[in-house]
Point group: C2
Chain length 228, copies 2
DNA sequence: TCGACTTTACCGACCGGTAAGTAACGGCCC
DNA sequence: GGGCCGTTACTTACCGGTCGGTAAAGTCGA
């Protein structure tokens, strides 16, 4: 029915020639970056539907049409933020975890890197979780697919552990969602300016998640992850 | 600044005399109950800001002013649903957990009852989590206080376990939030009409949460909870 | 007749989005 | 150097539509 435009991956800003350097993501562009970062923060704090384009425009010291010079629409703005967040997950979690061959070491990297990410770059990650309803159909499908791939990556790691007898006899789907619950929930409560150091929180959370699903023998607290 | 009306606890419907029986909650009232239940479902599915009073009215086969005969305003509607959800938590989780004296048994009751609740009565509970931003200041304070009391109840249980040396040397705040993350996340993924039986999911989730925070010795899988 | 309930009609505010205009700036021909 | 043009980066003014909420006039059973 509705003709929806969908940039399948994170749309890169339409930077004309301008400068020489190519930008990796539109979050890095001078003005567009400011727009996307502040929009992410505002949507995180107030919710997508409750955040108007006018408010976003004001926050970046523009008028609404001035904002529309940089952004195609409200949904596209949300979609771009979510793509940025998924990119971060892929780069900071999945790619690093794939370096670990042993499934337990891999799981430790997944949890600790994910937790680390969710104690730093909160707003974009939290939006990724909550505001799928604000997307168009095609956009939602695209984001859901990427989420699903991430989920499967974790579950396959658990399945490898279960095949080795190193995991408790628990359904791997339930276990994956439980681990995700622990680390996703971080963005709801952890305050980077609060009393708790992110390092210790990440360490504690990692220990809880690993001990929760692994059999007692293998899970020793401490250690950054993958061995010699 | 703004003069906000706040019914401190769950507002009971303004049932005139009508029948003889007193209703425990306005969710039980014939018409009001239908309104609150369907509103909870819609807000859960679409988000509070994206759900209009017109849509809610249509869903319960009323016009908008007809709906306003029963509810004072949109915020009050949301607040009433959240109070209902907190009441459920108090009755179904806290009250039952307090019957268990041993902190480990108590923790097991907390997790399993909470998980059970979040695999059954999803919509109201999920709203309780997500839509605090839709409330007025005074309402938000009231709900936050009740949430805080619930959080403290869990953390005190963990502190008792740690004093006994039965819990891993982890920050109790982090541990409490991790447990909450596991069980709160249930409402995001568990589908009661899906392939997984709620009983096994509740059991698995309970095992993960308890093994995550307890030292290996005490946590034996299985068992409904409190012993002889 | 009374009060519980429901309707039609409407309010001002704000929503996402756009049309049209323009100030500033570089490059380019003469 | 002066006149001209195209692009970039915005602005003012405005669109139709929907929002939460209400006034007022019924309707209808007890």
């Amino acid at each position: 029915m509705t003709t929806e435009t969908l940039t399948e991956t994170a749309p890169t800003v339409a930077t004309p020639k301008k400068g020489g350097r190519r930008k990796a993501s539109l979050f890095d562009d001078e003005r567009a970056g400011r727009i996307y970062r502040t929009a992410a923060k505002m949507i995180y704090e107030k919710g997508f539907a409750a955040t108007s384009m006018n408010e976003i425009a004001e926050a970046v010291e523009l008028t609404k049409p001035g904002l529309y010079y940089y952004v195609k629409g409200k949904k596209e703005l949300l979609f771009a933020i979510m793509c940025f967040a998924m990119d971060l997950l892929d780069v900071e979690v999945v790619a690093r975890a794939e370096e670990a061959r042993d499934p337990e070491a891999r799981l430790r990297v997944i949890v600790s890197r994910h937790a680390h990410l969710f104690t730093q770059d909160v707003s974009a990650m939290a939006i990724l979780i909550d505001e799928v309803g604000g997307l168009s159909e095609a956009q939602r499908v695209a984001i859901t697919a990427r989420k699903r791939a991430y989920f499967d990556f974790i579950r396959q790691t658990l399945e490898a552990l279960q095949a080795d007898g190193r995991m408790r006899p628990i359904d791997t789907t339930t276990a994956t969602f439980s681990i995700l619950g622990i680390v996703m929930w971080l963005s709801r409560w952890y305050q980077s300016d609060g009393r708790m150091a992110s390092d210790t929180v990440v360490a504690d959370v990692t220990e809880i998640a690993l001990n929760g699903v692994l059999t007692g023998t293998g899970a020793i607290p401490g250690g950054a992850g993958f061995g010699p």
